[in-house]
């Protein structure tokens, strides 16, 4: 079922939702946008840069999360409050990424209680991308500017109205009172969705990339492509599909905390014996790329990248994953 809402009526709808749930939406934080709990609909930024700098994975896997508090031998584990949440304005690539992370955190054997609880409590209301930016390559890797995967509702922005495509039962409950989508708007929506594809060009060919990467595992390619890398890790911290974390005890606060971590740091894989399987940036760059473009494929037959472009946009030395993959495809040993 599809619905529509006049743009001027959106604040009222959000306020309705704010009565029943925490509503997260992109708001301006310094020079960027970031998902925050919306307290005033004036703060909403829907026409800013397409993607928030921090990926919304942080709403399910916070950058820093207390697992337990301890004092001497006693401890209490963190339990999450019951709290309905709506993430409004999440981009399709980021919602797609959340479904990839579900395979890690909501597995059969050991579901992560924090991830699982937050996922169950959250409705994802996505906003499609009318004008993908230059660093976007979602369609190359199997997502798209109006990809519905992982979303409960998909919103398309037209001139004066938003269209709302209901994807799940969870989503249906939020929009049942809205007017149905008019035929001419339906038509316009499809046109907008179609036109967005014009902004996106194939960044590289995915077919056979896994095999190629395995073939050049031991090649000099990795040394070459990692030469300018500073090892800052921003590509992984801001990546919507990167999920590595460290668990450390914060002794001053008496807390055991898990923090986002990155395979781009030397100490990440350093063992107590001094042995490090990834001692230089070239092995570490290889790990980042191969995890996304080979290992995920082996594990769940999906590329572990949704083409959001953050790693390209925010890299301080301009390393472009599209070039890295593209060049890997044609790499020949000298």
């Amino acid at each position: 079922m599809n619905y529509q809402i006049e743009k001027k009526d959106l604040p009222a709808l959000l306020q309705q939702w704010m009565q029943i749930a925490q509503v997260f939406a992109p708001v301006k934080v310094e020079n960027f946008t970031q998902f925050k709990i919306l307290s005033n609909t004036n703060e909403l930024v829907l026409n800013g840069p397409l993607n928030t700098r921090y990926p919304p994975k942080s709403l399910f896997l916070p950058q820093s999360e207390v697992l337990l508090k301890y004092q001497d031998r006693d401890f209490t584990t963190t339990t999450l409050d019951k709290q309905q949440r709506i993430i409004f304005g999440i981009r399709p690539c980021d919602a797609h990424a959340v479904t990839l992370l579900d395979t890690v955190f909501d597995d059969q054997d050991n579901p992560d209680p924090y991830w699982k609880t937050r996922r169950e409590q959250t409705t994802l209301v996505g906003l499609g991308c009318n004008e993908p930016r230059e660093t976007c390559f979602c369609t190359t890797v199997g997502s798209g500017p109006f990809d519905k995967l992982g979303l409960d509702i998909l919103i398309t922005s037209l001139d004066d109205v938003y269209t709302l495509e209901v994807i799940t039962e969870k989503g249906a409950q939020l929009v049942a009172d809205l007017p149905s989508l008019k035929d001419d708007n339906q038509q316009q929506m499809l046109e907008v969705q179609d036109r967005a594809l014009d902004y996106l060009h194939p960044a590289f060919e995915c077919e056979g990339i896994k095999e190629k990467l395995y073939n050049i595992f031991e090649s000099e390619y990795w040394q070459q492509v990692s030469q300018s890398c500073l090892g800052c890790g921003v590509c992984t911290f801001l990546c919507p599909t990167c999920f590595c974390f460290d668990i450390v005890d914060e002794t001053q606060r008496g807390e055991r905390v898990r923090n986002w971590d990155t395979c781009m740091f030397r100490i990440y894989s350093q063992e107590a014996s001094g042995h490090n399987p990834r001692p230089t940036r070239s092995e570490r760059t290889r790990q980042r790329i191969m995890h996304k473009y080979a290992y995920w494929l082996d594990q769940i037959e999906q590329i572990g990248c949704t083409g959001c472009g953050r790693c390209i946009h925010y890299c301080p030395v301009g390393i472009d994953i599209r070039e890295m993959i593209g060049n890997a495809r044609v790499w020949r040993e000298a």
Partner: protein
């Protein structure tokens, strides 16, 4: 592990029942831990398989993974032998009987023991990595388990006699008829009655038959590196050679990403792999 209300990051409260140095130079210490809660004990022993590991937890020091060095039938305790290396293991070495410690586990797959029924087993260990092989040997030694396996050969090397672990027990293995034990040290010592030399050389000297046999190898990387070709020369196929990997691990649940090699997580898919499986993974070890 299938209790879905359970928080897998929560350590079980344990007490140290016994703590003693395992080596003359005090670099190795053995802890035997007992459960504070009966439910934890039942849960643990209902699923424990030799070759698995646990995350030990000391508040303020964090967690670190250690292989389990005891068989379930030995008693209601869980044994670990821990080498003093970094801040966590130094803290462990300062602990004594009666102290509290946290534990998560058992984690990982353990040895595929059921697949080895009816086989000859060649157990090859070096250094403190022998601890999980000790657990495996103890498991097999139990009269109820022993008939499941055929011949049992144990080859265990240490740098010197002072570093030999589980000394008194292993001394008694030389009298047993249900296994053949070969002990080795790297350099000659007075009064040493057994092999002198590196483990790979001892393996070649003992030359166990590959006929209907499985070899299990755990040791420092350099020992493993040279033992694998020795076994290959003795006609052990890669499918019949098993080893256990160690990695820096945090969660032990296949989530924190740290122990990833290729499509595998060492903590969840391992730590035990056949050589055939390892050969199919990228050389990222």
């Amino acid at each position: 592990m299938h209790n879905h209300n359970h928080n897998p990051y929560e350590p079980m409260p344990m007490h140290i029942a016994r703590a003693y140095y395992e080596s003359n130079d005090h670099s190795l210490k053995t802890l035997e831990l007992v459960f504070d809660r009966a439910a934890d004990r039942e849960q643990f022993f209902s699923s424990y398989n030799p070759g698995q590991f646990c995350q030990l937890s000391i508040f303020g020091k964090g967690e670190a993974p250690f292989g389990i060095a005891s068989a379930a039938w030995e008693g209601d305790f869980v044994r670990f032998t821990i080498q003093k290396m970094g801040t966590f293991t130094q803290a462990v070495h300062r602990m004594k009987a009666g102290d509290c410690i946290g534990m998560r586990g058992p984690l990982g797959n353990g040895f595929p023991i059921d697949l080895w029924h009816g086989k000859n087993l060649v157990i090859i260990g070096g250094g403190c990595a022998f601890s999980t092989l000790y657990a495996l040997t103890k498991h097999i030694q139990h009269p109820q388990n022993r008939p499941d396996f055929n011949e049992l050969i144990v080859i265990y090397g240490a740098r010197n006699s002072g570093l030999c672990m589980y000394k008194n027990d292993i001394l008694s293995w030389h009298e047993r008829t249900d296994l053949e034990i070969h002990q080795a040290i790297d350099i000659p010592e007075d009064d040493w009655l057994h092999h002198v030399g590196y483990v790979p050389d001892v393996v070649r000297e003992v030359a166990p038959s590959a006929e209907n046999a499985v070899a299990v190898v755990c040791g420092p990387p350099i020992m493993t590196k040279f033992t694998l070709p020795a076994l290959t020369d003795l006609n052990f196929p890669p499918e019949a050679i098993f080893t256990s990997l160690e990695k820096r691990m945090k969660c032990g649940l296949g989530k924190c990403g740290r122990c990833n090699i290729g499509s595998k997580y060492i903590c969840k898919d391992g730590p035990v792999f056949s050589l055939a499986e390892l050969e199919s993974l990228p050389a990222d070890i």
